[in-house]
């Protein structure tokens, strides 16, 4: 499938992303023309003076739609890049950013916070639900690392098993919290299913400050990621310290995942499918795969969010939508690659 030069695909994906961002910013209950949109963008970025538009329209575009659009795109990109890292490090094409239980940790943290609020316990303003989700995922990562620590090289099987163990304990915890929440369980379920409703610039900028540096750090390790897919003996023979690099990249990509999940809730399948689709287009070399996956993840999740926001009659939780579309798509990819293997 690799016909055009790989940099061309990168440029193409950036262009598509820009077009979709502009297109998505127009759509909504108040339809906007491109002229109005550009006027608002120029005004808000300081290139032109106060435009001759309703201040309500300006508010809707700049304070409601754009932060949500940017937030959805960055979460998609962050999850996709984290997916690339997990698949390379765990040497397993079926791994995703949630394999180590980070999503369960976030869900546990968020539901604990929601439960505390429900029983009338007022948390300090700084400790929001998102903050608890973030802390929950970091603690989960720490627990997984502790459990896997005796493994001399942090081998992938040990990590995957540790992740499964911790995640299953946490899911039991989440079920218990849901049980305690009784009638108010909806709030927890809704958080877990994921949503970009009401995302503001503050959260979005905070997210950008975690996701962009993580992506850059990961990109800088593209060669190591390539080599590490061949196994430990091969990569050590080339001078790579498996344990150090694995730890470093798992921490960075988990931070990235934790930031995404705590802002948006658990959005499945993006981190699994986007790296697969991207690999089919630009091949497995991480120096192209990582940026291309990032942009594809942005495009995919932005389209999905716009669909829930504008196209569908009622606002479906985005996590449900990605799983409903992503699951079957993955089945098709999986089946086709399996068939290719048998025929090959």
């Amino acid at each position: 499938m690799r016909t055009a030069p790989r940099p061309l695909y990168l440029i193409l994906s950036v262009l598509v992303l820009i077009i979709i961002i502009l297109w998505a910013a127009r759509l909504g209950h108040i339809e906007t023309s491109f002229a109005e949109l550009f006027t608002i963008l120029l005004y808000k970025t300081g290139f032109s003076s106060s435009p001759d538009l309703q201040s309500k329209l300006i508010f809707v575009i700049w304070e409601i739609r754009l932060p949500r659009i940017v937030c959805a795109a960055v979460v998609g990109g962050g999850l996709a890049v984290a997916g690339c890292v997990f698949q390379s490090i765990l040497q397993n094409p079926l791994a995703d950013p949630y394999t180590l239980g980070i999503s369960s940790g976030a869900a546990f943290g968020a539901s604990s916070a929601i439960l505390l609020q429900l029983v009338g316990f007022t948390l300090p303003i700084i400790i929001s639900t998102s903050m608890c989700a973030f802390l929950g995922s970091l603690l989960t990562l720490y627990a997984v690392f502790l459990l896997a620590a005796p493994s001399r090289r942090f081998s992938s099987n040990t990590l995957i098993l540790s992740g499964i163990i911790i995640a299953s304990i946490l899911s039991a915890g989440i079920s218990f919290i849901k049980f305690l929440a009784d009638e108010n369980v909806n709030t927890i379920i809704f958080w877990i299913m994921g949503s970009f409703i009401g995302k503001n610039w503050q959260e979005t900028i905070l997210l950008l400050f975690i996701v962009l540096p993580s992506t850059i750090i990961i990109y800088v390790h593209a060669r190591e990621l390539d080599i590490m897919t061949f196994g430990e003996r091969s990569s050590e023979a080339l001078g790579i310290d498996n344990k150090v690099i694995r730890q470093r990249l798992l921490i960075v990509s988990s931070l990235c995942t934790a930031a995404c999940v705590s802002v948006s809730g658990i959005i499945g399948f993006v981190g699994l499918i986007v790296p697969h689709l991207a690999r089919m287009v630009v091949g497995p070399s991480n120096n192209f795969l990582i940026p291309f996956s990032f942009f594809c993840g942005c495009i995919l999740l932005l389209c999905a969010d716009t669909a829930t926001r504008f196209i569908l009659p009622t606002e479906l939780p985005i996590g449900v939508l990605t799983a409903l579309i992503g699951g079957p798509v993955f089945c098709v990819i999986f089946r086709r690659t399996q068939l290719d293997k048998w025929r090959g």
Partner: protein, 263 residues
């Protein structure tokens, strides 16, 4: 002190979970030779290679490489003089053959610069030597086992080290490719003075191409010396419990003959 090139192992032992892998092995390996590592299954050949490559650290004993303790090498420095072709490797992703061989140049690349012309030349040369140039734009997952093995050897050659360790790499290959690989290695030993240590199961291959044999049994060094004097009917029967006949073939090369029916 005069610098001693090559490996010098003294009293090296390695055990895990109270199972002895390697027990008090002392050998010196000099540059420019083809060393064959033979012994029955489970005799510690792979463990011995892991120790030589620094992948595992022995519990006791010292290993000097070019007169410097193996442990004191910087990883990157070591990977520029020592290449390893493991027996098994994973591959789940469709990397192109040329990209895989280029990974052998990793020790020479700085993080922020792309590979230089000299790196691509080394890659082309390695692929040329192993006769896989025509596979360069194929993906590694669609190759046969033997072709993949040659790609991994090309990757090790692209590393341009003075030492190459191979763990039963010819066991997947047909006789034609086995012969061409040992020919390539022998040529490198002759022309560039590199050292090859290879675990081999095929005793005829060992007899034909190895200058010296390292014979392991139950983790201990049973014999060490020139192939021509060491390889005997008695040694093989002691090692494997199989009766063989050794005859002189072409160019007085030793050939080992055995029956596939127990007498």
């Amino acid at each position: 002190m005069e610098t001693v090139k090559g490996y010098s192992l003294s009293q090296v032992s390695y055990s895990y979970d109270q199972i002895t892998g390697i027990d008090e092995v002392s050998v010196s390996l000099v540059p420019g030779k083809f060393y064959g590592l033979i012994g029955p299954n489970g005799s510690g050949k792979s463990t011995f290679l892991d120790i030589l490559s620094g992948y595992i650290v022995p519990n006791h004993g010292t290993i000097l490489l070019n007169n410097v303790p193996l442990q004191s090498y910087d990883r990157n420095e070591l990977s520029q003089i020592l290449a390893v072709v493991p027996q098994f490797f994973n591959q789940n992703f469709q990397y192109l053959v040329s990209d895989v061989v280029l990974m052998g140049r990793y020790p020479y690349l700085s993080r922020f610069s792309p590979p230089a012309k000299s790196d691509f030349e080394a890659v082309d040369q390695a692929m040329e030597m192993l006769g896989i140039s025509h596979l360069r734009s194929r993906s590694i997952t669609e190759l046969s086992g033997g072709e993949r093995q040659r790609v991994m050897i090309a990757k090790a050659l692209a590393q341009s080290g003075d030492f190459i360790l191979l763990d039963e790499v010819t066991s997947n290959l047909d006789i034609n490719h086995t012969i061409s690989i040992v020919t390539v290695l022998s040529k490198l030993i002759r022309d560039k003075g590199i050292t090859v240590v290879a675990a081999v199961h095929d005793l005829n291959l060992a007899a034909a191409c190895c200058d010296e044999l390292i014979v392991l049994k139950n983790g201990t060094l049973k014999n060490f010396g020139p192939t021509s004097t060491l390889l005997s009917e008695r040694l093989i029967s002691e090692l494997y419990g199989v009766d063989v006949a050794i005859i002189s073939g072409n160019q007085s090369q030793k050939q080992i003959i055995y029956n596939y029916v127990r007498s």
